[in-house]
Symmetry: D2
C-alpha cells in the first residue's frame, strides 16, 4: 500500500499576484504565514521558498529575525515541513547579465554571497534540498559570453557553495533546475541532460542532483518523463517541480495536469513505481483570471489531479488486459541483458535473423488505447 | 594562420535521391565511387558512410569485398579520407521498435552484431570516428518502455561495442549523436546534454564523445553553439554534423548556413577559436527541387558558407570596435575566477553592493549589432 | 438524443504501410476493397480516398474502370459512403516545386488536369466533399516564389476547378486543407485562418470551405478548437481531419485522442454542440511498430475515443457543478450583445468603472478542474 | 530611386524599462517628450503610442490636456509624425479575462469606451492608423469561452468603433494585430490569416487591415514574409511591426534583424518591391542588459539593419547571376496565367506530360546561395 505522497507548494506559487509582462497584478499579495496555514488546512505536507519570498530584499537584520521566527512558529504550529529552499538570483536588476555567470565579477561574488545567506536560512528551516534555478545564467547575444567560460564559473560557484553548506553542517542536498530559455534568450544548462552532465564535473558530485520541472522540459518539446527517467536512472532525482505547460510557449506554470494528461500520467506512474520519496512540489500558479478563492481551488486541483493519476496508474498496472498487452509488447524483456556473455561472432551471426525479426508487431496501439481508457475512467 | 578546415560529406548526403514522406525520389541514385571522385574535385577532405550506403542490405560476401575494395581504391586514387563510419540501425523494418533498445532481445542482439560488422568496415577504412545515431531508440507510447531499462540496454550495447572495437585494435573513437524526436515520437538521449551525461556512465568513458548536429538541437529550439560549447568544455566534441534547420519542424537537413546565419556564425567562431581539429562534416542534402547539378551546387555552398563565416569570425575578432565593445561587455572577465580564495563572510558582505552593481550596462546591443555588420559584410 | 457520428477513414490511413523518411515499410500493402469490408465490420460510416489510393499512377483506362467498378460494388455491398475524394498532387516527382503553384506552367496545367480527373472520380463515387491539400504548394527558398504570385495562381486553379465541377453537375463542395510546413519548408495557406481568408477571394466562395486537421494546426502550436470555431462561425467547416499530434514536431498523424486529451475534448464538445453534420474523418495511421492487427486496433481506437469524448462532453454539460461554474465564469454572458444601441458617451463613461470591474474572479480554475474530473471519469 | 523608408518607434519601445516576468526594471523610465526629441535626432520619421504610454491611467482631464498639448508641441518642434495610435486594453487588471471578449459585459463596454477615447486621441494627433492588438482576447480554459461567441463580440466591437471613428471625421484606418499566445494561453485571431478572414466579416471591411508583427507570426513558426505577402495580395497591409524573435519562445521583441537575417531580408525585399508606403514601425526593445545609451544604440541598429537589407535586396535583384538563377528557377513564370482559356479536356490531356515534366531541376540551391552571398556582402 503506497503511502500518501508529500505535497509541497512554493510560497511564491499560491502567493503569485497575477502580474505578467503585459499587465499589472490582479490579486493582492498574501502574507506568507497565512499561506502556510491555508496550505496546512488543504492537506499539503509542506512549503518551499526563495529567500526573498519570506524576507523582502532590503529588510534589516532585526526585522529578518522577526520574520523568520514567525515562519518557524507557523511551521511548528501547523506541522508543515520545508521541502526545499532556494535563493532569488533573478529579480534584482544587478542580475540582468547573470548571477554566477554574470560577466561582472562583482555580481558573481555578490550572487555567491547571497546564496550563502539563503543556505543559512534553508539550513535553519531544515530544508531537505537547496535548489539552484539559474534563470539569468544565459544571454541573448552569442558573442557576449564564451559558453565554456560560463560553465567554468557555474561550476566554481556550485563547488564553493557545496563546500560552504557542508562546512556549516547542513544536511541539505543541492538540486539544479534546468530551463532552456526565458527570461534569457538562451540559458546555460538548458535541459535535465545538460544538468546531469554538469553535475559529474563537480567537486562533490554525490551531493548534487537535479530538480526537473514539467514546464521547462516541455517548453523545448522534450518528453518530461524520459528526462525524469534519466535522472532516476542516475540516482539524481533530488526534487521535482510539477505544473502544466504547452510546448513552444512562454513559461506558463499552469496547474498540474492542466495540460497533456497522458504525459502527466506517465510521469506520476514513473515516480510512483520508482519509489521516489521526495516532495511532489507544485511550482505553478493560478490563472490570472482568479481571485483569492481561485488560488486555493488551484492548489486543491494540483493535489487532486496527482492523486487521481496515481490511482489511475495503479489501476492500469493491475488490469489483466494491460498485462496481456505489456506481454505482447515485450515490455519486461527490455529489462533483460542483451548480450549475456555471448561472443562477437555469435552476435554478428544474428544479423541474418533481421528479416525474420521484422515480422512481429508490438501491439503499441492497443497498449496506448488501454492507457487512454484507464485515464478516461473507462477501466 | 589557421589551416584549411577538413570538410567531409556523407555518401548519403550528396547521394540523397529526394524521397520524402509524401513523395517519390526526384533524382537518380549516385554511384558512391562517383560521389567520391566528385567530392575530391570540389575540394572536400573526405567522406563518411553508413555500412549500407556502400554495401546494400542483403549483399553477399564476395560482392561486399568487391565493393569495399573499390572504395579503398577510389580513396587511394583521390586522396580522400574517411572522417567517420557508422551503421544503419533504422532502415530495416526489424528496427521499428528500436535497435539497442528494442523490446525484442533478438533485435537488440542483431543490432549489436550489425554494429560490430560496421565497426570492422570502419576500422578497415581507417575511419577517425564511429558514430551512433539512435534514431529508432525511442517510442511513441510511454507505457511501452521504462526509460530506465532503455538507458540500461543502451549502455550495455555501447560498452560491448567499445570493448569489441578495442579488441580488434581499431583506434576509432565513438561519438553519440543525439536527437529529440523523428522518426520516433520521443528518442532517448534527446540532446547533447543527455548524451554527455550518458557517456559518464560508460565503462570506457574516455573513448566516447558526442556528435552534435545543428538540425537536431535546433528542432528543440536549443542554442546549438551552447550545446557544442558544453561538449568542448568537457573535451567531448569528437565529431560534428553541420546543416540548416528551423526550430520546431521536421528534420530538414538543409545546406549549412541556409537557416539562422547568426547562429551559424557563432558556431563557426566557436569551433575555430577552440581549435577543434575534427572534420567539418556536412550531414545535409540538396532541396528536393534540385537535379544532379543542384546537388553539387549544394555541396559547394556548404563549404563556401563555412569558409565565409570563418573569415567573418576572424574579421570580427580583429575589429577594434568589437574589441572595445567586448571590453564594455566584460567578456574576458567571465574567464576570471570569481572567488579567488576569499572567505564566506567576505562574499556575504558583497551582497550589499548589489544596488550599486545594477547601474552599469553591458553594451550588448552594440556588440550584437557589430556582429550583424560583420556578417553583412559592412565591416 | 444525438445521432451516431458518421466516422470515415481514408484508404491511405488504414492502408499506410509504415514507411517513413528513415525506414522501409513495416507492413504489407492492403487491398482497398479489403479495407472497405473491414471498416464496414468495425462500424465506420464510410471512406475517403485520393485518386491514386485507388488507381495507382500509370494505370490504363480499362484497368482503371475495372478498379473503380470494384470499389462501387464493394461500397454497394457494405453500405459504406464516400465522405470525400481528393487528388494526390504531391507524390509524383513532377510536383517537387508545387502543383497549382509550381513555377513551371506545364506542371500547373497538368495539376489542374489531374484534379479534374479526380473530380470526375469523386463525382462518380458520390463524394460529399472534394478536398485540396496543397502539400507541395510552398518553398524552401524565399526568393524562388513571390507569395503574391503563388496566391494568384492558387486562386486561378480553384476557380477553374470549381467551374469545372459545377459544369459537370457534381454537387460536391470543395474544402481546402491548410498546413504550415512539411513536406515544404513553408506552405502557402499555412493555417485555417489563411485558408478562410483565401476562400473569400474566390469566384465561387459559397462552394468552398475548409478541412482543418488536428495535426496541421497543432504543429504550429495553435489551438485547434479555436480554429475550428472560426470556421464554424463562418459557416465554412465542410470537412474535418481528426488525429493526434504534438506541437512543434514532424507530421505525426497519430490515433485520434492519442495526444492532448483535453484539447480533443474541447474539439469534440464544440463539434457536437455546433451540430456539425459532416463526417468525422480520421486522417491518421497506426504506429510503425504495428502489424496488420494493430492497424484495426488503431481504427477501433479512433472511433472509441471520439465516442468517449462525446459522452464526456454530454456529462460535462449536464453536471450541476459545471453549470454553477459556468455561471460564475459568465460563460453565457459572452453571447450577449455588448453595446445594445448605447451611445459613445455612455460607453466612454463606463471606463470609470474599470477599477471596480477588476475585483471579480472568473473561477476558471474550478471550471477547468471540473473538465479534468469529467475527463478522468471522476464525475 | 526608392525614397527613404519612414521609420517609427513606439513610445513604449525606447521607453521600455527592462521589467520582465522574473525581474524588476533595469532602466529608469523615459519622459515621452525626451524620446520624441531623441528619435528625431536619430533620423526617425515618427512615433506611435498607446493612450497610456502618454497619459498614465488615472490622469485627470486637465493634466491630460497638458500632456497631450506637450506632445503636440514636441511633434511640431521636431517635425515627427504619428504613424499609429492604439489603446492599452491589456494592462489594467479588469482586462484579465479579455477586453472586447471578456465574459463580463461591463468590461467589454468599458473596453469599447476606452478605445473610443484613444481614437479621439489618435485622431487629434493625426495618426495614420489605429491598431488593435487583442492581447487579452483569449483564454487558458477551453470551456470558459465559446470561440464563436468571442468572435461575434470581437466583430461587434470593431464595427462599433469603426462607425465611431467615421462619425468623428477621422481618416484613420484600423489595423488588427494578430498574435497566437502570450499573455493568454490561446489568443483569438492568432495569425495574419485569421485576422484577414475576420476583416471580411466586418461592416466596414475596406477601412480595416492588418498589422502583422515579426515576433507574433514567428512564435508560431510561420513564414513572416508569406503572411505579409498574403496581406499585400489582399491590399490589407495597413501597418507593420518589425522586430526579432526565435520560433517557439516567449515574446522577445528583439532589435530588427537580430534573429533570422535571411527571413528579414526576404521581408524587406518584399516590402520594397511591393511599394509598401506605410511606416516601418519598430515594436521592439533593447535587451534588459542595456543602460540608457544601449537603448539608443538599439534604435540606431533597427534602422541601420533595415537600410542595409534594403540595399542588399537592390543588389540582389540587380545581380546578373541572380537574374540567371531566377530564370533557371522560372520565378517570373509563376506570374503567368496557368489556364489561359484552355478547355478541360486539353488540361486533362496534359497529365500525360508529368513524367517528362519531372526531369527538370529548379536551381534553388544556387538561387539561395546567391542570396546568402549577397547577405554576407560577398556580392
Amino acid at each position: 500500500m503506497p503511502s500518501e505522497p508529500r505535497f509541497t507548494f512554493g510560497l511564491w506559487t499560491v502567493g503569485n499576484p497575477g502580474r505578467d509582462p503585459f499587465g499589472e497584478p490582479t490579486r493582492a499579495p498574501l502574507d506568507p504565514l497565512d499561506s502556510v496555514r491555508r496550505l496546512a488546512e488543504l492537506g499539503a505536507w509542506g512549503i518551499s521558498l526563495h529567500d526573498n519570498d519570506l524576507v523582502p530584499w532590503g529588510t534589516g537584520a532585526a526585522e529578518e529575525e522577526r520574520i523568520v521566527s514567525g515562519l518557524e512558529a507557523a511551521l511548528q504550529e501547523t506541522g508543515l515541513g520545508v521541502g526545499m529552499a532556494t535563493t532569488n538570483l533573478f529579480g534584482h536588476p544587478a542580475f540582468k547579465d547573470g548571477a554566477f555567470t554574470s560577466n561582472d565579477r562583482g555580481v558573481r561574488r555578490a550572487a555567491i554571497g547571497k546564496a550563502m545567506r539563503a543556505i543559512d536560512l534553508g539550513g535553519r528551516l531544515g530544508a531537505e534540498a537547496f535548489v539552484f534555478w539559474g534563470g539569468r545564467e544565459g544571454t541573448e547575444v552569442g558573442t557576449a559570453k564564451d559558453p565554456r567560460d560560463a560553465l567554468e564559473r557555474y561550476r566554481e560557484a556550485i563547488d564553493v557553495l557545496a563546500d560552504y553548506s557542508v562546512s556549516q553542517g547542513f544536511g541539505m542536498r543541492f538540486a539544479i533546475e534546468p530551463k532552456p530559455n526565458e527570461p534569457r534568450g538562451d540559458i546555460f544548462l538548458p535541459t535535465v541532460g545538460h544538468a546531469l552532465h554538469f553535475i559529474t564535473t563537480l567537486a562533490r558530485p554525490d551531493m548534487v542532483g537535479v530538480n526537473p520541472e514539467v514546464a521547462h522540459e516541455t517548453m523545448a518539446g522534450l518528453s518530461f518523463h524520459h528526462g525524469v527517467g534519466q535522472a532516476l536512472w542516475a540516482g539524481k532525482l533530488f526534487h521535482i517541480d510539477l505544473n502544466g505547460q504547452r510546448i513552444g510557449r512562454y513559461d506558463q506554470d499552469f496547474r498540474f495536469g492542466a495540460e497533456d494528461l497522458k504525459e502527466a500520467f506517465h510521469l506520476v506512474r514513473l515516480l510512483e513505481r520508482a519509489g521516489y520519496e521526495g516532495p511532489r512540489h507544485f511550482d505553478a500558479h493560478a490563472y490570472r483570471t482568479e481571485d483569492a478563492e481561485g488560488v486555493w481551488e488551484f492548489a486543491r486541483g494540483c493535489m487532486a489531479t496527482y492523486r487521481a493519476l496515481a490511482e489511475a496508474a495503479r489501476r492500469f498496472d493491475a488490469d489483466p488486459d494491460v498485462r496481456e498487452a505489456m506481454e505482447a509488447a515485450s515490455v519486461a524483456e527490455l529489462g533483460e541483458s542483451t548480450v549475456g556473455g555471448d561472443d562477437p561472432e555469435t552476435l554478428k551471426g544474428e544479423v541474418e535473423r533481421l528479416d525474420a525479426l521484422a515480422a512481429r508487431g508490438y501491439g503499441n496501439e492497443r497498449l496506448d488505447r488501454l492507457a487512454v481508457e484507464v485515464l478516461l475512467g473507462a477501466r
